[in-house]
Amino acid sequence: MDFSLPEELRSFQRMVRRFVDTELIPLEHKEPRGLLPATRDRLRALTRDMGLWLLDVPQSLGGQGLSALGQSIFWEEFSRSVAILPRDFYIIGPFVGAVLVQLKGEQKERYLDPVIRGEKLPCFAQTEPDAGTDPASMRTRAVRDGDHYVINGVKRFITDAEKADFAQVMALTDPVKGARGGVSCFLVDMNTPGVKVTTRYQTMMGEAPCEVVFQDARVPATNLVGNEGDGFRLAQEWITLGRILRHGARACGVAERCLEMGASYAKQRVTFGAPLATRQSIQWMLADTYTELQAARHMVRYAAWKFDQGEDVRTESHIAKMYSVEMGFRAADRCLQIHGGIGLTTDFPVERFWRDQRAYLITEGAAEVMRMTVARHVLKYY
């Protein structure tokens, strides 16, 4: 057994940490309401030069083809800063994802290549008002009509829909089969007649996802990805990796920074003649965060490593996500408490970490749904 990271990942980790320390963390104070366009351009040029660009895209398509373990190192380090709004991934290149990467032929030329070149912006539309954690309740229908499909339905909490050029839309092609082979994935241009962004939902973490309505939207049959019924299979890898990286590893980075801020403030803040760090209860808060962080980090890296071995990591991804997001929130909450009043102010990044991290107990599958799935697994094998 060898728990150490390979040397190339350790030097990669040092590089990302340096980038976050020197480029991102100072922006938390300078541009607290989100980055200025010029800053974004400068950061994008930097990440491109450093090879922090299209990390998850295969090298054959111009990306880095980084292993899941490598990506987990990236997400952990990258998440030590709140300078960039949650889900604003574009600092590290276009957000491609598992569905687009699988496109072939004309679909690849029309949708994947322009995304990689930065000419087109995609969004991913699965969630509906009555189908969040339960995609089987999906109601959006796609009905074949000659060489088109006609799509009707409502998608909710769709990140970036307001500025996207096209959407990857999950819709029912076979209501009888439902989630078991009845859902298909379509590439839908946002300017298609009948497609309308109706509402934006401002959320507590600064992100504002949209509601998108499809009303008799006619989509060419050639825009079906794969075959009818392939929808969930196509999205599976993206969602599994999302649990490990954008939720699990991310939470570890949040906890790491909260530990840094909490410890440093506890050492410097003097009350009743002694630094907070000399108080045992404060020491124990830090000890708990540190311990839980180690546990989460091992779960996340193990799940990523196992994914890289080509194994099925659905259960590992569920437990890593469930444990890490809750751990990250406890870490942020303790950090807030150690800071006292100053932690509550919006001038300071602590409350941002606290608000953002709270959201991750819900996004892309609530912690309760993770528990349901894990319980099913336990009862099957024990």
């Binding site: 909490f157 309760e368 349901m372």
Partner: protein, 385 residues
């Protein structure tokens, strides 16, 4: 649900506060939060219904009610709008009580009737950058100069700073280090040398006009002295009453509102072919929330009644505030979770409930400092369960 021994007057008061808040304050609650705009007009409405003079004697235009009644009313207001409840607690809370308890007759006559009419807000200012829970570390100082005091320094975390007419400010009146040198002066808004500093934007309770106070050779007449150096001990009872009457009922009210909204959501929303409410895991969360709320309410009501009967111990307020604060964080946190993505969106109240109660475990004495107090009393043999 919990039915405390309310007399007819208390029951009517609770009901009318609930109705008033539901009809008049709830519709503007989300906007006040979003725009950081204190709902100051609501204080006038509360005054018209007699709520601003609750804790003041009839001689000063009040109705002579106790901390328990204040808890009942503020809880109901907070169910609808936590920022309005904060404004009310600021109006009827520590500053008015302190003036009543230790103020001169002239100070009482000058300020209290206007407080009861909702025309005057007296802000309470204690904290400084290096003196939060540690009051003895206060550095803002006032030097006597003939018939005046000259104040220099800065205060932090002053709720209602941008709205108040008068400020009750703790400061160092005497060079003796620690608590012995600390007293308080009343400072009126337009006093030369006094200004409102930077606005402080918080994660929650965003519409209370919180800001810094700045004193630059600010000259205040000597008659504005309200607490002489070393006199803080005389208002400990005021602070204890405020720790119970001001902060925990807001937490209790917001937790109740979050609970109601969560129950509605679980009944209305279906996933996996059945209402969310049919999932045992979620039912148990609701049950835990109800247990938490009822325990907190019983504890808070009992403590308030003990404060009114002057039977409270040193630990009572600390125990009640700590439990109610942390209960509200747990309950509003679970409510967000039960509401799923809607819980995160600003179009729904869940995320606001959660943000609004979080700071309450830090303001008015952090739950850590209160645990210090509780432990000290236990170890000194002054607490019996």
């Amino acid at each position: 649900m919990f039915e405390p021994e309310l007399n007819e007057q208390q029951r009517l008061m609770q009901e009318s506060a609930r109705k008033l808040a539901e009809e008049r304050f709830k519709p503007g609650a989300a906007r006040a939060d979003r725009e950081h705009a204190p709902p100051l007009g609501n204080i006038k409405v509360l005054a018209e219904h007699g709520f601003c003079g609750m804790g003041l004697p009839e001689a000063y235009g009040g109705s002579g009610l106790g901390v328990f009644e204040m808890v009942l009313v503020i809880e109901q207001i907070a169910r609808a709008c936590a920022n309005t409840a904060m404004l009310l607690s600021g109006t009827v809370g520590a500053s008015a009580r302190a003036i009543l308890q230790v103020g001169s007759e002239a100070q009482k006559r000058k300020y209290l009737p206007r407080v009861a009419r909702g025309e005057l807000l007296v802000a309470w200012s204690m904290s400084e950058p290096n003196a939060g829970s540690d009051v003895g570390a206060i550095a803002t100082r006032a030097l006597r100069d003939g018939e005046h005091y000259v104040i220099n320094g800065a205060k932090l975390w002053c709720s209602f700073a941008s709205l108040a007419d008068v400020y009750l400010v703790m400061m160092r009146l005497d060079p003796t280090p620690g608590m012995k040198g600390i007293g308080a002066l009343l400072v009126e808004r337009d006093t030369p040398g006094f200004s409102i500093g930077r606005r402080l934007d918080l994660v929650g309770l965003r519409a209370t006009g919180m800001a810094e106070l700045l004193f630059d050779d600010c000259r205040v007449p000597a008659e504005n002295l309200i607490i002489p150096a070393g006199g803080i001990g005389k208002i400990l009872a005021v602070l204890e009453a405020d720790r119970i009457g001001g902060n925990p009922p807001i937490c209790l009210g917001v937790a109740g509102a979050a609970f109601d909204a969560a129950v509605r959501h679980l009944k209305e929303r279906s996933q996996f072919g059945k209402p969310l409410a049919d999932n045992q895991g979620l039912q148990w969360k609701l049950a835990d929330m109800a247990i938490d709320i009822e325990a907190a309410r019983s504890l808070l009501y009992r403590t308030a009644q003990r404060v009114d009967a002057h039977k409270n111990s040193m630990t009572d307020a600390s125990i009640a505030k700590t439990f109610v604060n942390e209960m509200a964080i747990r309950v509003t946190n679970q409510a967000i979770q039960l509401a799923g993505a809607s819980g995160l969106a600003e179009d729904f109240p869940f995320e606001r409930y959660f943000r609004d109660v979080r700071g309450m475990a830090i303001g008015y004495g952090t739950t850590e400092i209160l645990r210090n107090t509780i432990a000290r009393e236990i170890l000194a043999g002054r607490y019996q369960p």
